[in-house]
Symmetry: C2
Subunit: 118 residues, 2 copies
């Protein structure tokens, strides 16, 4: 693993908790719909990261980028997967082409596409 999912979540949650008591394990667990003991184990990397659905609720509560949190969990958002599955040759070629390139290059591409001036 690159970085531990659990410890990252714990750090984020504790940061929020400094100013907001609603960010205890118990209360956060309840808001995202899991048992406190489970969230605790997740945060200590005692168990594998939760399902995509649970991670998304977690990201929303912690105000984190869902794609980043999913990535830390070793997952890729299902809507991205679906986009790739619909046009596998095209997206496979593009991603393999880009995976060796620097962030700058990819970012530039994103912007070009977004601005439509190409």
């Amino acid at each position: 693993m690159a970085k531990a999912f659990g410890s990252y979540v714990r750090e984020r949650r504790e940061r929020r908790r400094e100013t907001d008591p609603r960010f205890s394990v118990r209360q956060l667990a309840q808001r995202i719909g899991v048992e406190p003991s489970y969230l605790s184990k997740v945060e200590r990397d005692d168990v594998a990261p939760p399902s995509e659905a649970t991670i998304l609720r977690l990201a929303a509560e912690l105000d984190e980028d869902p794609d980043v949190l999913l990535a830390l969990a070793g997952k890729v958002s299902s809507d991205l997967q679906e986009a790739i599955r619909k046009r596998p040759e095209l997206f496979a070629a593009l991603i393999r082409e880009l995976k060796g390139m620097p962030d700058q290059a990819v970012l530039r591409l994103v912007r070009e596409v977004r601005d439509g001036n190409w």
Copy 2:
């Protein structure tokens, strides 16, 4: 599901079998390292598609595009997933930007990146 994985494989295998007796269920199953009864069930969509590793061996034997076969199985190649996980914000933005665009546009982009003239 968009299209059935199994029936596609069966069609491809039977096509090959017309000219090459090595493409019976039994022999192909043996070459890709699974039980014939399992391959049979897979081809009749009686069970879920095989694992990524098995699909890749199948694609190689049938001379099919692995990404297409994986897509039919509802999967995305793990090397693509890994590329996305390494830079989630960037790739998520790019893919979401492109998913509404026509094939032509994506293809043009692939070529531009490949040719490096940008």
